[in-house]
Structure formats: C-alpha cells, structure tokens
C-alpha cells in the first residue's frame, strides 16, 4: 500500500502541478522580472557631470562632497565623471555639444539640475533623485540643528551611512531583507499549502461514504488505524522530496538566501508539510461532495489564504497586523510565511520557534481529529 500510495502521488498530474510545477513556474517568472530590475540598476554607466557652485557655504560644501563621493573612480557607487567648466554658460555649451549629460548648480539652499535636450530617463531619474534627496535632508538637519544639535549630528551620520542609490543583486537576493525574497518564500509556502490536496485525497481513499475505492479498504481486513498512518506517511515523503527540490532550485538556480541554519530549515519543512497534509484532511472531512469537489473547494480556500498572506501584495499581513491581528494568527499561509521569513531573513530564533510551535500544535490537533474520524469503520450514510 505504501509503495503504490507514493507512486500514485508522483503520477498525480493535477497534484504535482499545484504542489511542484506551479510554484517553480511562478518563481522563474519572478526571477526574470526582478533580475532585470537589478541588471538595469547595475548597468548605469557613470555620466559626465558638471558641478557649478555659486557662493560659499556649508550647503554648497555638503553637496560638493556628495557629488565628489559619487564620482570616485573605481568605486561601486560611481555614478558621475566630473567635468570642468569655467561658467554656467560654458557648462551649458558643453551640454549642448553633448560633452556633458548633467549640470548641477548649487547655491545657498538650492540645487538646480540641467539636462541634455534628448536626455535619458536614467540621467533624469538619478540627477533629480540626488538633488531632491540632498535638499530634503539638508533642510531636515538644518531644522534639527536649531532644536537639538546632538540629534542633528545623529541625522548627519545616518545620512552619510544611508546614501545608497543602487542595490546590487547580491544584496537584493542575499542577506538584506527585501520584498523580493518575500515573494519567493511566499511562493514556496503556497506550494507547500497545496499539499493539502494530498490530505483531501487521503480522505477520499479512506472514507467509504466519499469514494467507492474507500469501500474496498473498509471491506478489507486491513486495520483502519494502520491504513491512516500508512496513508499519511506515504504522502509526507513525496511532500518532503518536492520541497527539498524546490529549495535547491531556489538556492542554486535563483540564488535565494535561505538563512544559515539548515537544521531549523529542515524543522520548518517537515512541520509545514505535515501541517499542510493534516489541514487537507480537515478540509476533506469538512467539505461536502466527491473528492474532486472537495479538492476544488480547498484550492479556493488555499488561494485566498495565500493571497491574504501577501503573495501578491506584501503589505497585506502588515495591514492585518495593525487592524485585525488575529487574522494573521489563523491564516495558515501567513503562519507558514512568517516562520520561514523569520528563519531566513528576520534572524529571530524566538519568533521562529513561536511560529513553529503554532504550526506543530495545529498539526497535532488536525491529525488527532483526522485519525479519529478516518479510522472509523462504519458511517452514517454511504
């Protein structure tokens, strides 16, 4: 029974699609989409820039320092190549002659930007962003200086540390928390949750009032308790194999950072797969209809659960946390997402174990109910 149950799982095209293929296809699509963002950001070539300073003061000096730091030859952050000009008119002539792409004119309290007539979107975005950010931060620091010089110094230091206009691919898919990792992890969780289909399938196999196949089981001398345990184990193993493959693809093909603690990751995977299957058993027992109808209802429920956990809009769990926190606690996709996110990005062992405890607790409850009902030998109606 065990052998054929496993064969059945691996031959189930519908199940494999939702659990295995669909998440990988989605990840591949996301990889290409996000990869191009980083390629684009990393492909910004340093732009020939002229800096004109009008007057002397702290404001002008600060801006000069910033532009010089972003023009440092050989630096990863280099955005500009500084060109000389005698005056603004000379600079404008060079701009017209395409000898320069950007002109910054810094005066006391203001930064003006001049671009070529047929300027690129990149040069406009970068120049505009730098000028605006400087103006806003300077104003903030100047205001703070009047109120609290110590706090103003802190802002100055932070401003220096946080001046980052590009994000390297390594950072984005590596150790730095970012929304893109969330989408990949969330997709993995979605695939795991679709393993609930195996739980529904288990109900179909074992309840004589749900399927004719189950009638054969019930009439046979095989012990129901044993059958339930075997059926569960025969579904957990394919589940673990599928997640293991997905994790390897995520790590080695898409370069997703999965944390350093593989023991905890294994704990998460085992708990999550068992949770998903036991969740499917409960869905299978609660929903009405034949196995397919029960499966369709569960698919809808899982999709809603995954959507509300932030698969499409990563801000959703935050919104629920603010206005309706209990929802995040009872949404299975969010519970699984948070555990994985805390493990791989949040670096919070305590938070991770809290989520794992919740997952294991729910799994035990679901399994206890499932086994109690499924091992029944007789039914009220067939």
């Amino acid at each position: 029974m065990f052998k054929y149950s496993i064969i059945k799982m691996f031959r189930s095209i519908g199940g494999l699609f939702w659990m295995f293929v669909f998440p990988l296809v989605l990840m591949t699509a996301m990889h290409f989409a996000f990869d191009s963002i980083y390629s684009y950001q990393n492909s910004i070539d340093p732009m020939k820039t002229i800096l004109i300073t009008e007057g002397q003061g702290v404001y002008q000096e600060g801006f000069e320092d910033l532009i010089e730091s972003l023009s440092e030859e050989g630096s990863e952050d280099q955005l500009f190549i500084l060109e000389e000009a005698d005056s603004l008119e000379d600079a404008k002539a060079k701009l017209a002659g395409e000898e320069a792409e950007i002109i910054f004119v810094v005066s006391d309290g203001d930064v003006e930007v001049y671009l070529q007539e047929n300027h690129s979107i990149t040069s406009a975005a970068v120049a505009g962003s730098i000028a605006d950010t400087y103006k806003q931060r300077y104003q903030l620091i100047a205001d703070a200086w009047e109120q609290d010089p110590a706090f103003a110094m802190e802002l100055v230091n932070n401003a220096v540390e946080n001046v980052t206009y590009t994000v390297s691919e390594e950072d984005a898919f590596g150790a730095e928390p970012n929304p893109y990792n969330w989408y990949f992890l969330s997709t993995l969780v979605m695939g795991i949750l679709f393993m609930a289909m195996m739980g529904i399938n288990m109900v179909g196999d074992l309840r004589a009032d749900v399927s004719a196949v189950a009638m054969r089981y019930s009439v046979s001398p095989a012990r129901k308790g044993q059958m339930v345990v075997t059926a569960f184990a025969a579904r957990v193993i394919p589940g673990l194999v599928i997640v293991a493959i997905q994790l390897m693809v995520m790590k080695y093909v898409f370069g997703i950072y999965l944390g350093n603690d593989y023991l905890k990751l294994a704990l998460f995977v085992v708990s999550a797969v068992m949770f998903a299957i036991s969740f499917g058993v409960i869905c299978g027992l609660c929903f009405k209809g034949n196995v397919t109808q029960r499966g369709n209802k569960a698919t809808s429920l899982i999709m809603i659960s995954v959507f509300l956990s932030g698969e499409m809009i990563s801000q959703l769990p935050g919104l629920f946390e603010r206005y309706f926190p209990i929802f995040n606690k009872i949404n299975p996709a969010t519970v699984l997402n948070m555990a994985l996110f805390k493990l791989t990005i949040g670096n919070s062992a305590e938070g991770f174990f809290m989520n794992i405890a919740e997952i294991i607790g729910l799994t035990v409850v679901f399994l206890a109910i499932g086994i109690a009902v499924l091992r029944r030998e007789k039914y009220a109606s067939v």
Partner: protein, 313 residues
C-alpha cells in the same frame, strides 16, 4: 449445503425513512443469490449493512456462521466486493491496481503475484496490464473492477450492479465470469435491477421494494406465485363470437382479446394451454398462420406483486 450468510430482521432507518424493513435473507454455499429491486429499493443499503459499512438499527447478520462486525477481520478476509462504481485508481496501471487491492488481503508477495496473474487471466485483461484505467473502454474498466474484487480468491463475493452502462458483449463476458466463479467454489450475491440477468444467472432471487421483501425463491417458484403464466398470440382470420366464447372456456384461460386478426390469450399455469387452444381452432376449421407463446418475466412477477414496473428507466 451450509448456510454462508444469514440476515434476520434487518432494519435500517434514515431519520423518518425506513430504508430496510425487517429483511430476512439466507444464502447457501455455492449458490448465486440475486437481490432484485428497482433503483432505490434498498439493495445497496442491504449490502452495505451486511458488509458493516453502515450502522443498522436492528437485526442480526451472520457470515460463515459468525456475527459480522467492522472488526471481524477473519470474515472480511474471505469476502470480495465489486462495487457499483468502478473503484480503481486512475494513476495506477491495470496490474498495479489489482496488485494494490489484492495486497490488502494477501501479504505474501509470491502468492499475490500468482493471484494477480490469475485474476488478469480470469477477466481477460492480459493485453492491457500496462494500461491505465483512463485508456480502457467502459466494459474493460468493469472487468478491471471485478478483477480487483476477486483477485484474493474470496469465498463470498458481492456484485453490486456490475453491468450498469456496459455494452452487451462485455455484459455477457461479465455474467460468464460470475458463473465461472461459482464453479470455482465461490458463493455470489448479485444485486441488479436488470431482471433478465438475474433470471439467467441466479439460483435463488429475493425481490425487494422500499426495503420490504416482496418475494423469494427460484425463478420458477417466483413465476409460480403469479396468476399469469403465459401469453399466447395466434394470427387467425375471421374468428366469430361463438369461437371466442369457447376459447374463454378453455381451462386456465382468464383473458381473451381479438383485434386485427390477432388472438391474444392470457393463461394461468398449465402445460397444455397452447395445444388446447390450437386444437379448438382446428376443430372449428380455422387456419392459423403464426403462433407465439411468451412466458412471464420477473417484471411480470414484480408488476403483479407490487402493481408497478420493476425497471424504472
């Protein structure tokens, strides 16, 4: 012959509805026992109660002389079931399906391999062992359904409407197979609403309707329970009223009609009904072209006992 299955006073209720009402059954070793009734008459419910799949409200069920219960594993070991719906896995091949279900009964691999092959031979699916059920025709699927139910060589086999939606050729093969199983020593309980099959196959028949026993006995015994036993149709021209009156006076005749040169006579049980009527017409100088005699069917039995048709489709 030993009594294999005994059901006494079985009652099953679904809230207000009484699905089975004090049903008694006794099945002897080696016989094919037919459970006949229209759709919804309680045939499947009876089978499910016997197999301990359903809780019942009252009654006793004994199989092989022992009380049947969900935990009567030794009894279950000797039972096979061929459900009404084709109960196989689409993801497994023909061979794997039979092996899988046989494995619920037979743990020894070598024995199981032998039994599975014998089951495949029995239902003649040798050319399809590597096919998945989705690739099989309706008739072949039914044969696979049977193979999965009988591979472990049960002593008592339940066939729950195994020929529903099956073409005539496959139906005949299935019926031949069931007869073969009996010859191999199995006792068969066969439920159907196809009276011809039951009449052809079964040694004894229990007719039920709305959970009630309508009649029980052999085919001849059941037919003997009704007044009408024969319909005689004779093509003859120009019959006068006097002759028709004389036909009505013939022994066992209880209904006579004459239209479009067709004389139709309904007669009760009697060996010489046709001869008596033909002799009478010859004596009166009539020339007869065609003579038919139809025996009553189980549908006639059901119709006369319940006032409605057995087949509702």
């Amino acid at each position: 012959m030993a009594e294999i299955l005994k059901v006494k006073g079985l009652v099953k209720r679904y809230k207000e509805l009484i699905a089975i009402d004090h049903l008694d059954m006794s099945i002897r070793e080696g016989e094919i026992f037919g459970l006949l009734g229209p759709n919804g008459s309680g045939k499947s419910t009876t089978i499910n109660c016997i197999l301990s799949l359903l809780e019942y409200d009252k009654g006793e069920i004994e199989i092989f002389g022992k009380p049947m219960s969900p935990k009567a594993y030794e009894i279950k070991r000797q039972i096979g079931i061929v459900p009404q719906d084709v109960a196989v896995y689409d993801a497994l091949t023909v061979y794997e399906n039979i092996d899988f279900f046989c494995g619920l009964y037979i743990k020894d691999k070598e024995t199981r391999k032998k039994y599975v092959q014998e089951a495949i031979d029995f239902v003649a699916l040798n050319d399809f062992v590597k096919f998945k059920p989705g690739k099989l025709s309706g008739g072949l699927k039914r044969r696979l359904n049977i193979a999965c139910g009988i591979a472990h060589k049960p002593k008592l086999v339940f066939f729950d409407e195994p020929t529903v939606a099956v073409d005539p050729q496959s139906r005949n093969k299935i019926l031949e197979g069931i007869e073969q199983l009996r010859q191999n020593g199995a006792t068969i309980i066969y439920t159907s609403h196809y009276m011809e099959e039951v009449e052809q196959l079964c040694d004894r028949i229990l007719i039920i309707d709305k959970g009630h026993t309508i009649a029980e006995g052999t085919v001849d015994e059941l037919k003997g329970m009704i007044k009408k036993s024969e319909i005689i149709t004779i093509e003859v021209a120009g019959l006068d009223d006097e002759t028709l009156s004389m036909v009505r006076e013939v022994k066992n005749v209880y209904s006579v009609s004459y239209e479009n040169n067709q004389l139709k006579v309904e007669a009760g049980s009697g060996k010489h009904n046709v001869i008596d009527i033909v002799n009478l017409l010859q004596d009166k100088g009539y020339k007869m072209k065609k003579i038919f005699s139809e025996q009553p069917t189980l549908n006639d039995v059901f119709l006369e006992l319940t006032g409605k048709q057995l087949r509702d489709e």
